[in-house]
């Protein structure tokens, strides 16, 4: 029998989404629809070289032969790919802004509302930010300072212009253009994103960060990020995402590729707070994302940390190809689904090199009518002697109308592999709530205390200031959840 506390926990009032404003700004947009001409226009608008256009067209032609995947445990109305606007950019004087002073003040205001004041970012030490607004990148702070170290951090479009050799060498080497329906679509129509290259032996002295923002109506966001850590280098990168509140669903199909060479380390953190839809499940972002890292070199290390609290649908499996001997891949995830949100997320760890290690810690929180699926694949190839995997997969249920599901896939072709898998499902107990209440802690604080405690191992992986941000975000997502 559900107890009274269950009932109070279930009365999830509509959660406040504070990033739901729309910026009234003149845009330069294409009409909805997709064909080779649209792709040619996108490419032309970006002044891309011929090889880039050809890569897009190759992807597009491949995409036409593909069908949308259906294996995932999420349900949504069919997406009409011809009703999406594939390019929308804030109107600017024909040249891209060279410095922040040239950026439209309204855009800067938008980022300020989001808590990313670019002007201050420039002054305050700590984080270099690239901000992507709909389809283009509007500003990259700290660029000069990074350039002194030989670090390249710029928009993807700029990288295509300024560093074509690097882009050409690595683009599609981790996520091939033909990888999957959404990644292939992205390869055809991607508009912008971030690019980073850390040269040999350089430890990037600050967090690199990208802020993605969908603003325009009916716009899809298809950004593409490519990060290359050369031998012995280190970089920590963070992306954050928000979007206005709208009744229509909007598609976000991104691709992220990471490459770590010998002895290099990449830490990639995501705080995903796309508009989740209202409490009845109307509107919200469809988030279909392909993220993969390649530990190409010996002793290389790639670590994914994600805090997924937004989006109506989340579909993403940040993974690692552990090619180099002794390489390490990690995946730390918090996925919160409230109201009618659905998440099907997890990781894919492919062990190829010897002595490779992967660690997976997944924390799924379901509340309201939320459905949370962990899907993880661990594959140990034949030559991956002494590979090790540790997977821990915990689900926390709040109320009894939500669901948690776990689909682990394990494929071991080498007998020296060591695999450990732990999974738990728990409910916030009425007795736990009462215990905390009895000590003077309100029900709302008690829920967030238990949820934060549940997620602790993942918060620990985030850079300090973002851990604080992530905890706050979880609290906001839980706000008004209890009567």
């Amino acid at each position: 029998m559900p107890t009274a506390t269950d009932a109070t926990l279930e009365t999830w009032a509509s959660q406040e989404y504070k990033y739901g404003f729309v910026t009234d700004i003149e845009t330069d947009s294409l009409p909805p629809g997709l064909d080779e001409d649209v792709i040619a226009v996108i490419s032309a608008k970006k002044g891309e070289p011929e090889w880039m256009l050809q890569w897009r067209l190759k992807s597009y032609r491949h995409w036409l032969k593909m069908t949308e995947p259906t294996w995932q445990n999420v349900h949504y109305p069919p997406i009409d790919y011809q009703s999406i606007i594939y390019y929308s950019a804030p109107k600017q004087d024909k040249d891209r802004p060279q410095s922040l002073d040239e950026v439209d003040p309204k855009l800067l205001e938008t980022y300020e509302k989001l808590g990313i004041p670019l002007h201050e970012q420039e002054a305050l030490a700590g984080v270099a930010v690239d901000a992507v607004f709909d389809s283009v990148s509007v500003a990259t702070t700290f660029k000069a300072k990074l350039a002194e170290l030989g670090i390249i951090f710029c928009s993807f479009s700029e990288a295509v212009q300024e560093h074509p050799d690097l882009v050409k060498k690595y683009l599609g080497t981790v996520v091939p253009y033909s990888d999957n329906f959404f990644a292939t679509l992205n390869s055809a129509v991607f508009t912008d994103g971030s690019f980073a290259y850390i040269p040999k032996g350089v430890r990037c002295p600050m967090e690199l960060s990208t802020y993605f923002r969908i603003n325009a109506l009916s716009t899809g966001q298809f950004e593409r990020t490519l990060i290359i850590a050369d031998e012995g280098s280190y970089v920590s990168y963070l992306e954050g995402c928000t979007a206005p509140m709208r009744d229509e669903n909007q598609l976000h199909a991104a691709v992220v590729e990471l490459i770590a060479l010998d002895d290099a380390t990449i830490k990639y953190s995501t705080i995903q707070n796309w508009y989740p839809g209202d409490k009845d499940g109307k509107g919200g972002i469809f988030n279909f994302v392909t993220k993969r890292g390649k530990c190409q070199g010996r002793n290389s290390h790639i670590s994914w940390t994600q805090v997924e609290t937004g989006a109506a649908i989340t579909w993403k499996y940040p993974g690692c190809i552990l090619l180099g001997d002794n390489s390490v891949g990690e995946f730390y995830s918090i996925a919160l689904t409230n109201n009618h949100q659905q998440a099907d997320t997890g990781t894919k760890m492919i062990h190829i090199g010897k002595n490779t290690t992967s660690n997976v810690v997944s924390k799924g929180i379901s509340a309201g009518f939320g459905q949370n699926t962990y899907r993880g694949m661990i594959k140990i190839n034949k030559g991956a002697d002494r590979a090790r995997n540790f997977t821990q997969c915990d689900s926390l249920l709040i109320g009894d109308k939500c669901g948690a599901h776990t689909f682990p896939y394990i494929e071991v072709k080498n007998s020296t592999a060591r695999m450990e898998h732990e999974a738990t499902t728990s409910k916030i107990g009425e007795d736990q709530m009462f215990y905390l209440n009895q000590r003077g802690i309100s029900t709302e604080d008690a829920v967030s205390m238990i949820v934060n405690g549940f997620c602790k191992e993942v918060f620990r992986e985030l850079p300090m200031e973002f851990a604080v941000e992530a905890q706050r975000l979880l609290e906001v997502s839980l706000e008004g959840s209890v009567g």
Binding site: M1, T3, A4, T5, G429, E430, D431, Q432, F434, Y435, L436, N437, Q438, R439, G440, I441, S442, T443, D445, M449, I450, N452, G453, F454, C455, K456
Partner: protein
């Protein structure tokens, strides 16, 4: 401070408390004894506000307010504390963090300044000495993996930290070795004061050698069948509850 009048409570349709009357004044220490399943914990939990128990009749006044109308966290902030017979494990939630949050919510209610992490640590360290508890327990998850005795001491520690006005201790002495028992008793005695009332629920007379009660009540089948001074505990030890009930039924029937 606390006035319980004709309190009836049931769980899933079974009546467990069948008309409890009890008056507790500030400065007093009451002991409630009674056989297993007689409703002692039920009484404690009803006073603390657990909503799995339904109050079907009667009233409870706490400092003149209707206690039954208050939410459990409100009651706690107003000074009601219950030491749990079975303290609950809460994985992932750091004990020090939890206890500071609890203390600050109560301090805020009392109009006192909230304590930061450093001040809190000073505050709690003194209290830990009182119950002779290992400081390392503060850095662990609430009650998780604590031994039975550690859990019970933890309850006393929390009581000492939160400084309640009305403390209800549900079998805090059960499962303790003699040294731990003395420590718990010392903790309770330190907390005894003119403006605080304590209710000690126990099965054993032996703790009452260390915590001398002003009143002893015997709860049988959801009713207080006898009340007296500390000597009543000794009589109980001799005769057991069976005799008590009979005597009661014959000489002083309780109206229901």
């Amino acid at each position: 401070m606390l006035e319980i009048r004709n309190l009836h409570a049931s769980v899933e349709g079974h009546e467990i408390l069948k008309g409890v009357n009890l008056t507790v004044t500030a400065g007093e220490l009451h002991s409630i004894m009674g056989p297993n399943g007689s409703g002692k914990s039920t009484l404690a939990q009803v006073l603390a506000g657990r909503d799995t128990y339904e109050v079907t009749q009667g009233e409870v006044l706490y400092e003149g307010r209707n206690l039954l109308e208050m939410d459990p966290d409100e009651r706690a902030r107003a000074g009601v504390f219950m030491a749990f017979q079975y303290p609950v494990e809460i994985p992932g939630v750091n004990t020090a963090y939890f206890l500071r949050a609890a203390l600050n919510s109560i301090r805020k209610h009392r109009g006192l300044e909230e304590l930061d992490a450093a001040d809190f640590l000073d505050w709690v360290k003194d209290k830990m000495k009182l119950v002779d508890m290992d400081e390392r327990l503060l850095n662990r998850s609430i009650n998780e993996g604590f031994s039975g005795g550690e859990k019970k001491r933890g309850e006393i520690l929390q009581m000492a930290v939160l400084e309640p006005k009305l403390a209800i201790m549900d079998e805090t002495d059960s499962g303790l070795d003699i040294d731990a028992l003395k420590i718990v008793a010392k903790g309770v005695n330190t907390l005894r004061s003119a403006d605080r009332a304590i209710i000690v629920i126990t099965h054993y007379q032996r703790i009452l050698d260390y915590i001398v009660p002003d009143f002893v009540h015997v709860l049988v089948d959801g009713r207080i069948v006898r009340s007296g001074g500390k000597e009543l505990a000794l009589e109980l030890e001799e005769k057991g509850y069976a005799g008590m009930e009979q005597k009661n039924a014959a000489t002083e029937p309780v109206a229901s």
